[in-house]
Amino acid sequence: MDAKFIITWLIPLFPFAGWFLWGLFGKYFKGYSGYIASAFVVISFILSSILFFIVSYTHGFTTTLYPWIYAATFKVGVSADIDRLSVIMLVMVTGVSALVHIYSIGYMQDDKGFARYFSFLNLFVFSMIMLVIANNLLLLYVFWEAVGFCSYILIGFWYEKKSASDAGKKAFIVNRVGDFGFAIGVFLLFITTGTLNYETIFKMIPSIPTITVTIIALLLFAGAVGKSAQFPLHVWLPDAMEGPTPVSALIHAATMVTAGVYMIARFHVIFSYSQFASEVVLTIGTFTAFFAAFIALTQFDIKRIIAYSTISQLGYMFMAVGIGSYTAGMFHLISHAVFKGLLFLTAGSVMHGLAGELDLRKMGGLYSKMKTTAITFIVGGLALSGIPPFSGFFSKDAILADVYNKGFYFSWVIGEITALMTAFYIFRVIFIAFFGESNVDPKLHVHESPKIMTVPMIILASLALIIGFLGIPPFNTSVFYSFLHVDFKNAYNFAPFINNTPWYILSLISVLAGLLGIFTAYLLYIKKAINPETIKNVFKPIYTLSYNKVYIDEIYNFIIVKPVLSFSNFLWKIIDVSIIDGAVNGVASSFAFFSIKTKKIQNGMLMSYILTLTIGVVALLFYFFIR
């Protein structure tokens, strides 16, 4: 029971307790539950910062709470693995959560499910913390699914709305599809290594044939694709915007969706050992980054746009881990958590001001009405589009630079184009929403959000300014790199640097791309130099494709959902009821039929009775004589 043990397990304990309290006695706490819940999270934030310093000045350690499953040769304990990677995640998770909690007090204040909301939010924080500190795959998998469940329940928080509960269900099921792969990966890992503990596995990896490792890596990546909403399984994230906005900020921008990236970083040994798997990761990442940005171009739902941008940014992170520069990936993860959280919170504040209005076409000229929100939003936007000195610039360029220098030029090009599009769509939002003439429904009176909401926004905004400087280029000399890199030292260097173009050239290109995007948006929506409609008509097919999200949902519905349902109906109606049960009842009724037929013997005629008797005798005698 040393200090480390206590501190480590106190961190998840507080949110856990919170979940319990609000879940059971929420209604007795009334409004206070929000404050206490936030307090709990703040405490665990403080604790994790302490842990952060402990780890950064000493070294990582492992601590076990209790033995969990001991079945025959299968032994797994509830134990934590604290190293620099996990503490960074811890600080990020608890920090952002704390801010979001505080923000939510204001945002949710007059919702009847107040206590319920905070209990689930605490549960999520708990699960996320456990996911981060887990030291074995089973525990990871457990909380991997647990955070999935939290997002399910929080997306469907307003369950009366069919769309909301649908979205929740969709999120859960799509995640399950990913987890299916993940689970198989875990099984394969277990039977090849005989354990689920990280260190042991990592030690054994080199002794395993590459093909197996590749399969394992790909299966695990399937889980990541589901959780982090990468291309084939990205469909749930935009719908997830049905949930309360703080939830989107916390779960669907800052923490949960990045779990996939974290997982790959955590398993860098496995992934770096199999080049093919890493290249798959890179490809998926690249494609998703572009694809999502492309869809985001034409949407009108402000939250959905940000959601798509999240998907695309996650694509960047996967690029990074795909080429083996895990530190860069983690860096972008952190900074993205900050500015994307910020964007969501501000978007939430906009909604709050407009009584839940989400459609861009019904906004405009809000700058004057809600200054704080507008400014913070713009900060976020700049960070997102990678304009110095905002954090996005440093982190994104760290990635792109590595991509280029490791010689993945194609991905780099795509990345730059994506950067352009990103800048465009986010400033499209900014220009339409905050500037230009107002299309706001005049009846409702637009107002700035209360302090309790704006303060977290401001904090995040300032963070978005500061954090970047942890990674002052050249990245591989920066503070962040030197801090975190040690954890990845035993990664297998499959993609060496082949050329070192100086960072400033590459940065210049991407900054230009960003500025270009912003400028285009400016031309279109402020200057009205070109009417958007004309462009729409020029690129009609592309526009419709983007506007309808490339019809992915429809395709899935057509090739998966419908066939499965009709097949099940076939199984039930035909196989079950008609064939099997029909056979059973058929036997019964055939007995009835025979019964009626046999009883014809018993026709009451003495003659026939005597006849049967005689026939019996004759038959017996006959049997004897033919023998």
């Binding site: 009883k599 014809k600 026709n603 009451g604 005629m605 003495l606 003659m607 005597i610 006849l611 005689t614």
Partner: protein, 99 residues
């Protein structure tokens, strides 16, 4: 002259009786055929015990006769009752109990 001949004759008589029971519809005649079957058996018994110089076969015959007489009494009783109710002794009329 072996025992077979007697037994064959007895068997023939027995079969005649059985056929009588089988094909006749009149109750009385059926009873008579039954008697015939019994007597076929008697013949057989007498023959066998004569052939083997045993006594118990003959004793058996006596018993069979007695029993046959008793049965005849019952038979007539039942026949009368049946006639009272159905006004005939045609056994095809006895078809109330069936299936």
């Amino acid at each position: 002259m072996s025992i077979n001949a007697y037994l064959i004759v007895a068997g023939v008589i027995f079969c005649i009786g059985a056929f009588g029971v089988l094909i006749r519809k009149n109750l009385i005649i059926i009873f008579m055929s039954l008697e015939l079957m019994f007597n076929a058996a008697n013949l057989g018994l007498v023959a066998v015990s004569g052939y083997l110089n045993l006594i118990d076969g003959d004793i058996f015959v006596i018993f069979v006769m007695v029993v046959a007489a008793a049965e005849a009494a019952i038979a007539l009783g039942i026949a009368v009752a049946f006639y009272r109710e159905k006004g005939t002794v045609d056994i095809d009329k006895a078809n109330e109990l069936k299936l």
